[in-house]
């Protein structure tokens, strides 16, 4: 009997200390989400300016640039998967990976080879565990991505894209990340990064793009603009993913904490019942003993 009480006590104390960890992680995630969302907002002026400039060039020139020309046949595709470094974020990484697997299958069904690029230790672990190969991996700082990392990834992917198929290059580039829609909804999303489909914004009368002069030449301007555009798209995806990761972690930790509270309540009840049962038994033993003596 005493043994059972001890077991419940151990369970209660370990659940209590786990709950402390969950609560702390929830608080940390909550305080960081605000910052991550602010960073998403802070990167918008840059992204808008670049998009505007690219569509300005695109709208007045017949673009003939390798980055925007659709290859005749797409034989190999690169997929950049953006997940988190750490777990404890519910199904965050799993749903991105599921989306990536879906894309992989789709691309293979179209007869394309797939080359995988990874950002985040969770995706790396997933691929390592299954013994699957990937081309390159970046880890660290998934919950607060640096622009330098985005530049590095952008440069690596552009280099792949510029390489011929025969030498191992790719013909198109996809990104799988989690889009931050709101605090409660985050959506695993696939976007095709290259070849670019330059969307010419619906031009309204009031903001008809002016006829720009280019310095030095339209082509060089485009040469400098497009890689930046790619980098900014990748960076935006990384920032969105970071905000989503924190939101997912906050939600997961909240429900873990609630669950721990439930468990503590349940074990406390069981412990009390066990203690009461022990007391009752001792009492009835004493009474029985006294009865036996007096009889």
């Amino acid at each position: 009997m005493g043994a059972q009480i001890r077991v419940y006590r151990q369970k209660i104390s370990s659940t209590t200390s786990m709950r402390k960890i969950f609560k702390a992680m929830e608080l940390i995630a909550t305080s960081r989400i605000g910052k991550a969302r602010a960073r998403v907002a802070a990167s918008l002026p840059y992204a808008n300016a670049i998009t505007r400039a690219v569509s300005a060039v695109a709208s007045q020139n017949e673009i003939d640039h390798p980055l925007v020309t659709e290859p005749e046949k797409i034989r190999r595709a690169a997929v950049l998967v953006i997940t988190s470094d750490r777990g404890l974020a519910g199904s965050y990484s799993a749903s991105v990976l599921k989306q990536a697997e879906g894309l992989n299958e789709l691309l293979r069904a179209e007869g394309k080879e797939v080359k995988t690029y990874i950002f985040g230790r969770k995706a790396q672990a997933y691929f390592d565990f299954r013994g699957r190969s990937y081309a390159r991996v970046w880890t660290g700082g998934t919950d607060a991505p640096e622009f330098e990392t985005a530049q590095e990834i952008g440069a690596a992917l552009l280099e792949e894209f510029a390489t011929d198929y025969a030498e191992g290059g790719v013909d198109e580039i996809h990104v799988v990340y989690t889009r931050f829609k709101s605090m409660v909804t985050q959506e695993p999303t696939v976007v095709r990064l290259l070849p670019l489909e330059v969307e010419e914004q619906a031009v309204t009368e009031s903001e008809l793009l002016p006829l720009y002069e280019f310095e030095p030449e339209a082509e060089q301007v485009l040469d400098a603009l497009l890689p930046r555009y790619i980098e900014s798209r990748i960076f935006a995806a990384m920032l969105q993913a970071a905000a989503s990761e924190l939101a997912a972690r906050q939600r997961a930790m909240k429900s873990a904490g609630d669950n721990a509270t439930e468990l503590i309540k349940k074990y406390t009840r069981l412990r009390n019942t066990a203690r009461q049962a022990e007391i009752t038994q001792e009492l009835s033993e004493i009474v029985a003993g006294a009865d036996a003596l007096s009889a």
């Binding site: 990167s43 840059y46 400039a53 622009f147 002016p210 002069e213 930046r228």
Partner: protein
Amino acid sequence: MAELEVEIVAADHFVWSGAAKMVKARTSDGEIGILPGHSPLLAILAEGELAIEPVSGDRIAVTVDGGFFSVDNNRVVIVADNAQLGESATAGIR
């Protein structure tokens, strides 16, 4: 006289915006000065310093490491990968 409406953005943050009389920048071909009424322009920035002459206050120096800028309708948007404001420029931030 008309003024220029200047906006400087870096990849991950907003740097500066305000009204200016003149913007001096370095493109890959050489220095270029922009006064109000300049024709629309889209140019590549070279690494280095660009100077902004605000309507009021001292000249502002910004160090950029590449990027581009566009001018249209007296609106100058400077887009840099990394931009560092020189000292004495904080007063212009709004």
